[in-house]
Symmetry: C2
Subunit: 377 residues, 2 copies
């Protein structure tokens, strides 16, 4: 921006939503806000775990087919906060596996909790973390036979940043792997509503998952709630520590001690998201970003790049074989004034890739693609 003060910079970098929240949802939040100034509509502290009606609505909307119940849902101020609360639950003396590449919050919170060893500069990895390499060669699903046993496995599908989604068969293997190892699987499904094929939208669609998995999710990328802050974590009653104690009871203690519930206004918004009209409106927002994704994929495909993700996620993972992802990032920024994200920011496995996010106004996405075509024609 210093070099080119007049440049029209377009950000397809961090995955920040750009489209307005549907009015049926904001109206519900405004209504709740107004009610708080009335004697009958006022409410103070809510349940730390979330309002009963919202928990029930999340359970019936997303988990009816797998039989999760209201009291297995913990409403939160977003997936990022809940990942850290889960890390507090796990404590410092656990070992961890993550997809490589993956959303940085898993590793970053692990470092903060003191779970990791030293950062090894030569391989760009922290000690005591198992990096499960996800590449085009293995279909972005790790070769589990080469993954060591860890206490915790973080797994995100549809994946940020690769945009790939794990199939039912792959997730069945993953659940079995966790079960065999006595690992807890933390499944991040924050992009599940972008899935348009028959891949599982929840880990709990996999038989036996309730005994090994926790699912973290969010309204951020569905309804544009990145600033409103609302998410949830599902912990089945059937998930037990090896001594038989329910993990959900322990997490409940964390939630009640370290958190005081999501904003009641945001919760009113969440409830509106799950009403018939709200849900349809959310799907329209998701559909808009999916159209953006298609435009970006078509662009890079037409330029002869190998492009991954996109189909079931709002991220396009573009391969620049043999090149440094920071170098490509800089080249794109310098020459097209479009911000992307260098793949190596998501772990060493992201080297050679750039993530292009589909969160943007349509005209900006089209203009960015026009510039990409000019640069790489």
């Amino acid at each position: 921006m210093l070099k080119h003060p007049d440049a029209q910079i377009i950000s397809l970098g961090i995955g920040d939503t750009t489209e307005p929240i549907p009015e049926v949802i904001t109206s519900a939040m405004a209504k709740r806000a107004h009610e708080l100034s009335t004697l009958n509509g006022y409410s103070g502290y809510g349940a730390e775990q979330g309002e009963k009606q919202l928990r029930a609505s999340i359970a019936s909307t997303y988990y009816a087919n797998v039989g999760l119940e209201e009291d297995e849902i913990f409403v939160s101020d977003g997936a990022k906060s809940d990942i850290s609360r889960l890390q507090v639950l796990f404590g410092s003396n656990v070992s961890m596996a993550v997809q490589d590449p993956s959303y940085p919050a898993y590793v970053d919170s692990s470092v903060i909790m003191g779970q990791t060893g030293q950062f090894q500069k030569d391989v760009e990895k922290y000690g005591n973390i198992a990096y499960m390499r996800c590449t085009p060669e293995n279909g972005f699903f790790p070769d589990l036979s080469s993954v060591p046993r860890t206490d915790i496995i973080f797994f995100c599908s549809p994946n940020n940043p690769t945009g790939s989604v794990a199939s039912r068969e792959q997730l069945t293997k993953l659940v079995q792997f966790a079960k065999d190892n006595g690992s807890i699987l933390v499944y991040d499904s924050a992009y599940a509503m972008y899935i348009c094929d028959d891949s599982p939208k929840s880990i709990f669609e996999i038989p036996g998952a309730k005994e090994v998995a926790i699912e973290v999710s969010s309204f951020s990328k569905y309804a544009g709630f990145t600033g409103v802050r609302l998410g949830w974590t599902a912990i089945p009653k059937a998930l037990l520590y090896s001594d038989g104690f329910p993990v959900a009871k322990d997490f409940n203690r964390i939630v009640c001690t370290c958190f005081n519930g999501a904003s009641n206004i945001a919760q009113a918004g969440g409830l509106a998201c799950l009403s018939p009209d709200g849900f349809k409106a959310m799907m329209d927002v998701v559909g808009y970003y999916k159209e953006n994704t298609q435009i970006i994929m078509d662009t890079f495909n037409s330029l002869g790049f190998k492009v991954y993700g996109g189909k079931n996620a709002p991220y396009v993972w573009v391969h620049f074989p043999g090149r440094s992802s920071w170098e490509v990032f800089s080249e794109i920024l310098e020459k097209t004034h479009v911000v992307t994200t260098p793949g190596s920011g998501f772990g060493p496995g992201g080297e050679g890739f750039v993530r292009v996010s589909a969160f943007g106004h349509r005209e900006n996405v089209i203009e960015a693609c026009r510039r990409f075509k000019e640069l790489y024609k």
Copy 2:
């Protein structure tokens, strides 16, 4: 409720606000909610540390006289969440001092972080925590000469539950004590707006405090934001670890990794709270609860009880010498159907006391006091 299904139970137990949020504040939140459904008004992720304007407004409203700046304020979803984020900052290998009695979140979060030793049933204390006894005899300010050195000191003034406020002279001693010991003082000022004498409203009014103290505060008890969720933590740039590294930089990393900012709608509410009209409206809410407090104090005084707190805090701390606080709690509940809080829930130093909260509708407070008078006449 099972025993007396028709009883009109009045809760003066947990400190939950009951009065509507002033309309000037809820209107601002409703407006922000509506704006989120417009192209120009929409915003996604905000700064994890809070919106610049709100940080500036908190700094100028509460800290202009002590010279704290905007970038020393971290906006949060409430004091309880920030206490736990501070505990994550401190880690497991620290020692801790707390007032006894005190708000349970300090000890509870300390236990969860693994800072404490075993619970010693005979004294009702956790190992590795220094309990600083606060009694009528010492004016509810601990005898610092008998307090061992700890890494961290939690201190709440006006105090929950005793309602007592520390004087400038006492806080000067406390700051000196922290400085002499190389301790970090975490000062909880969530009730500061209830102070009506010349006691300090912020620890930073004490010379030298910026080099030893962090201040945690909240909109919950000022504007009725217990359900809306908004607070802040002030960390001066002058607060350094012994190796010279700024504590604020470390906390910034925690906030950016483990949190994604308070809800933008709640932040719009916070900004409205600090507008001239909003501030006046907040002071009216505080004034309402202060009148409640006076009614409760007058009642127990007229019945011959020794009553503490109340003047500068919304809590009345009633002494029942020689009696178990749980027994008194049960007696009051059984015979008057009023919920109070047994003092021992705040630590062993709370034994023999009951906390009566002034958060309630006026007619309920008056009715509760009528029943107290009947029971203890």
